[in-house]
Symmetry: C2
Subunit: 337 residues, 2 copies
């Protein structure tokens, strides 16, 4: 039996490109005791992967060359030599960019059984998975929303941002999104229920962007969830209220090379802001609380989400490069089965 994989074979100089990846066929090995074979149904594509492609100091080890790209996956157990998992179990894990994964079921946390009666399997890679918990953690633990306050989030139509705004609304806040293009902005307001959404592409200069944010958030912003960095961050800092909180979750605009400076760091002092960077995998103790709220929200239809689905493993590199340019609309997945 053949397992198609995608390896990282070179590191980007500047922008990532399809040449950095290579499709490889390898045989699926026989299972040893305690192992299970998972067939991946969906592969998750996420911005953090761009950081792993670099060989620079970061919070995480770089993705090694000539090995399967890391990534979250959902699938179904096809063979099992473990008592913990049976054939047919739906599971979520970090199987990487490949069709099959052999997983040591004895190692805790590698594989988690999920229930697909009320929640679609793919949602475990989105609002009820890592992106959802990321939004939940940054919002509740860092932005600390209070009813009547204004919460803003960039990449608002994305897997993380869409959750941030909807959870903020559920807490009685005004929710402001920033997204690229009129279609995404309309979705953020009309479908997700944000109060306003600023199309940053329609405001290429700081003055115009500042004015649009002022209109969207007339009372200022109390909590900001940052997914992109760069000029959007600079503009948002000018809108932050005294004692505002900023959760730094992503800096996608700076992944490709030259560091993006922050224009007005003195505002952190002048507005007495609290700015905190976080990585959701370092806060596993909070996942159960988060997944409880997120799972209930998705099952009941209260939390809405949208997926961009690429077809087949070979499409993963292009879909990933598109994600980095904001071409996806909602959670970017690759469908493998």
């Amino acid at each position: 039996m053949i397992n198609q994989q995608i390896h990282l074979v070179s590191r980007p100089e500047g922008e990532a490109s399809a040449d950095n990846f290579k499709l490889v066929d390898v045989p699926v090995p026989e299972l040893e005791d305690g192992q299970v074979l998972v067939r991946h149904h969906y592969l998750s594509l996420d911005p953090y992967m761009r950081g792993r492609m670099n060989d620079s100091k970061s919070y995480a080890q770089p993705q090694p060359l000539d090995q399967v790209m890391i990534g979250g996956t959902v699938g179904i157990v096809e063979k099992s030599r473990s008592d913990a998992f049976g054939v047919g179990d739906k599971v979520v894990g970090m199987g990487g960019w490949q069709q099959y994964a052999v997983v040591d079921a004895n190692q805790p946390g590698l594989l988690r059984k999920v229930d697909t009666k009320h929640i679609p399997l793919s949602a475990y890679l989105g609002p009820v998975g890592m992106p959802g918990v990321t939004g939940w953690y940054g919002l509740t633990k860092i932005c600390k929303p209070e009813a009547g306050q204004t919460i803003a989030v960039s990449a608002a139509s994305g897997a993380v941002g869409s959750v941030v705004g909807q959870l903020a609304k559920a807490r009685g806040c005004r929710a402001i999104g920033i997204a690229g293009g009129p279609e995404k902005c309309a979705y953020v307001v009309d479908e997700l229920g944000f109060d306003a959404c600023v199309d940053y592409k329609a405001h290429p200069d700081p003055k115009s962007l500042n004015a649009a944010l002022r209109e969207a958030a007339p009372d200022g912003v109390d909590g900001y969830f940052e997914n992109v960095g760069g000029r959007i961050l600079d503009a948002m800092m000018l809108r932050m209220n005294a004692f505002g909180r900023m959760a730094f979750c992503g800096m996608i605009s700076g992944y490709d090379g030259a560091p993006m400076p922050m224009a007005y760091p003195a505002l952190i002092l002048q507005s007495r802001l609290t700015v905190r960077g976080f990585i959701v995998s370092e806060h596993m103790a909070d996942w159960p609380d988060a997944l409880k709220e997120l799972g209930a929200g998705v099952a009941s239809g209260k939390i809405k989400y949208r997926e961009s689905i690429a077809d087949g493993l070979a499409s993963a590199p292009e879909a990933f490069l598109g994600l980095l340019k904001g071409k996806n609309f909602g959670k970017q997945l690759v469908k493998l089965v």
Copy 2:
């Protein structure tokens, strides 16, 4: 009776200059019921005053033109029509740049009696006053030092920085200072007891400054107390350990005009830093705890400090401009009596 005052008469375009100030003679008014007349012995000069000279959005109201410059003062009550204060009482207040102040003793918080048996009067403008509490608050509430960790502070020989490092040492930390010039650095290590001090003037380029900080803080920095901003902040961010805390207290390097960008804001995410700006006057509830530790430390000689004393009110503008350029050595005061 004549009261000499210094007024702000114009706002700086770029660097502040002596022309922004004017010495004015006014008569001391008769006291009304409930008022006291304080003769100022020392005037405090502090970097925050530079911010007040601008007419820009900031956390505080700008200093109004053609009025007495604000500032902390210590002095002795010369006349009293209040039961709360008697002639001869030593008091600390915000009397401003003038020889005498008439204070409404009924308004709580304007004037505070102090004990000079074990603590010199001038220390209430330094380690046992606003600068000391500033250091105490930023260190204990934001940098949150733990024994064995490394704490760094810029402007380390100054009124705030000297307290930060000494309190960090008392908590079992390694204390690293940054200061300008070999004399200040020697004082920081030899007199104040810091473990190391980096002379930023000896390291004008980033590479050299980074190397010096690496040598001073070989295990990285867990808490950083920022008084200056600019290239020192950029260099320090590269040294911050995962989950490090940064207290933004001052951005003196950016007061004169062009905003100073932060070069690597993505490090806030990558190193999962918490960065918080604060103003000590917004945390009055913590002052008693702070003053208790600081007063005991100064009285016992455990907390050391140094003063630069300019003579006479007319010397205040030049002394203040010198402070902005780091010409002072320790707490900058103006002696009025």
